[in-house]
């Protein structure tokens, strides 16, 4: 009895800084897929248009942006048709923002589950990332269709080998959004103020990123904003890899990568610390 010291589970007040319990996380991988399903299916249940909403949402946003920023504010689009210019940015931003929002809401939105049952909490932000990615894939296919349409119609776009960097950019966005989501969610367990700031903050971040305008038109006075924002080269790179427009800033992408990695690791540390006692304060 007592000799048998190979306990299957030991619980202590504190855990080491880098103990992310990834093995346990892997054991629960089936749950991730179920949560992804739980996120996706109810979106279109009891709607007349059903899964069509996954496509309509970015189309409508693009349409609105085309009117507001293109037709009214006349922000240049680097010589591209407005639809083609706005849509890649919007689709990628939707992916980033949705994964980030789901990640940062982990503790507040799921406190009723967390208070009742244990599973690695990391499951939820990761499921949020994956479900956002599924949404992204749907919207991205639509984007490809539209691009093909323009290409056949003879618009000047230059798809090519640069599309190969696309997966890398997506990994970068994933790391960035997950990392940032983890950091914010860890802080929201104590400082609820962040939650109020979140919607505003994400909007601010969006305008600081070249989504509705090309990086080339940013006046020198404000260039530092875009230089400081590690998302900028990712979004510029995304447009470049799809359309062959703009430029690829390899050195700045490396910085973005470093920053994303830093975010992800500090996110994991803060998150695994917060998850231990989150229900005491939420």
């Amino acid at each position: 009895m007592e000799k048998n010291e190979n306990w299957s589970l030991e619980i202590y007040p504190k855990a080491s800084l880098f103990d992310f319990r990834l093995k346990e996380f892997w054991a629960y991988r089936e749950l991730i897929l179920l949560f992804v399903r739980r996120e996706l299916v109810p979106t279109y249940k009891q709607t007349i248009l059903g899964p069509l909403w996954f496509i309509l949402q970015p189309l409508l946003t693009t349409f609105v942006y085309s009117i507001v920023f293109g037709a009214v504010a006349r922000i240049p689009t680097d010589g591209l048709p407005q639809l083609l210019f706005y849509m890649p940015g919007i689709v990628l931003w939707n992916f980033f923002n949705s994964a980030f929002m789901k990640g940062s809401g982990t503790f507040l939105a799921n406190s009723h589950i967390f208070g009742k049952v244990y599973f690695p909490r990391l499951i939820l932000p990761v499921a949020g990332l994956l479900s956002s990615f599924v949404n992204f894939l749907i919207q991205f296919s639509l984007l490809l269709l539209i691009m093909a349409g323009y290409w056949i119609a003879g618009t000047e776009i230059h798809p090519g080998a640069q599309i190969l960097i696309l997966p890398l950019l997506l990994i970068l966005v994933s790391m960035y959004s997950l990392g940032l989501g983890l950091v914010v969610s860890a802080f929201t367990t104590k400082y609820r103020d962040l939650n109020h700031f979140l919607v505003f903050g994400s909007q601010l971040l969006m305008y600081a990123t070249p989504i509705i305008y090309p990086a080339s038109i940013v006046p020198d006075k404000f260039r530092w904003v875009s230089l400081l924002n590690p998302l900028s080269p990712i979004f510029e790179g995304f447009r470049y890899s799809l359309l062959g427009m703009g430029q690829l800033m390899t050195d700045r992408l490396m910085i973005s990568f470093g920053f994303s990695l830093f975010l992800l690791i500090s996110g994991l540390i803060l998150f695994s610390r917060a998850e231990r006692t989150s229900i005491d304060t939420v």
């Binding site: 299957s8 202590y12 089936e30 739980r38 009723h112 009742k116």
Partner: protein, 417 residues
Amino acid sequence: MGEIAIKVENLGKSYRLGALGTATLKRDFLSMFGKGQNKEEDEREILWALKNVSFDIKKGDAVGIVGKNGAGKSTLLKLLSRTTAPSTGSIKVHGKISSLLEVGTGFHPELTGRENIFLNGAIMGMSKRDIKAQFDEIVEFSGVSRFIDTPVKRYSSGMYVRLAFAVAAHLETEIMIIDEVLAVGDIDFQKKCLGKMKEVTGSEGRTVLFVSHNMSAVKALCNYGLFLEKGTLRTTGSVQKVTEAYTAANKGLIETSELADRTDRSGNKSVILVDYYAEDMVGNRIETVLTGEDITFCFTLRCGPEKAKNVDFGLNFYDPEEANMGVLYSSYQSVYFEMEPHQLMQIKCVVPNFPFTIGTYKVGTRIVVNNEESDWLLGGAGFISVENGDFYGTGSTGFTHPYMTNFLGKWIHEVEK
């Protein structure tokens, strides 16, 4: 002695009192730089919900955890089920733990019964293969097979609970933690659950931790007990010993309040209430009673300078939302009292088979002399806390929701010829 399934050593859990606000950030910053504020001040703000608790639980035991509200039962469960981390000490476990602190955790209203079975099962730690293998059995146990492809938001609350419990009952973990889930569902389903739990503990050699206020259920299901009081372990041992200790501890003294000096009262004060307490049938003063007990409410009245005839005494019970749960005036039963000037008199009112369920009730009183209000304590004369007990005399606690009124019925049946 068998193998140990759970070993708990020096377990403690503290909470910081008061709201988390702007002070939190400041404190966090200070402690980050090693400038902890006044230690004593800190100590006062900390509440130990559980302190220095150590025990071993053997494999295959069914353990009843008993204690009053606030004794630390839920905290212990939270720590064992890993929903929160301890502040001190350690828990070591052999085998997989699943906790049933609430059935239906993670159910999504838009998803169908089928989808929710898989989701809920996985949240509780079942693999997809396990759920598939047991799917038909789960559906049959729940009795909602006709609606299995309907979103659960269309379920009645009974169906919802039955489905949720069915998933939980089919968990195949070595250690199960159960928190009064029996308080839900109809009688038939409760019996089915009790049966299923017995099956779980008896035949399959699983370890079960069962938290309940219901002494008869604890006695029926468990062989070992833990009695928590104010965050510490008071008694451990056989379930008999523990439930006895618990029942005995619930018959403590109540503090007497200076009722006579209270000013929150209305009336002409020709007769006023000066003391109140409750006692059990043996004459011990009690603050906690069990539903179904015979309770004596004792009131001391003081007469003013004039003789009082036709004194009508009324008492009632309020729930925490100040809803009146029931009123009884002595006059309803044609009882009036007579008092001489400056006389003290004690009135005792025996309430047989106390009908209210678990909760803390405010006891209100009002004295009427010659149809005129003489003394009405606006804040109530005191409180009485109630734990679920054997109202029906059958061992069943019946419907155990808080702040309900039990009643008895006479059951008659006729067969159609």
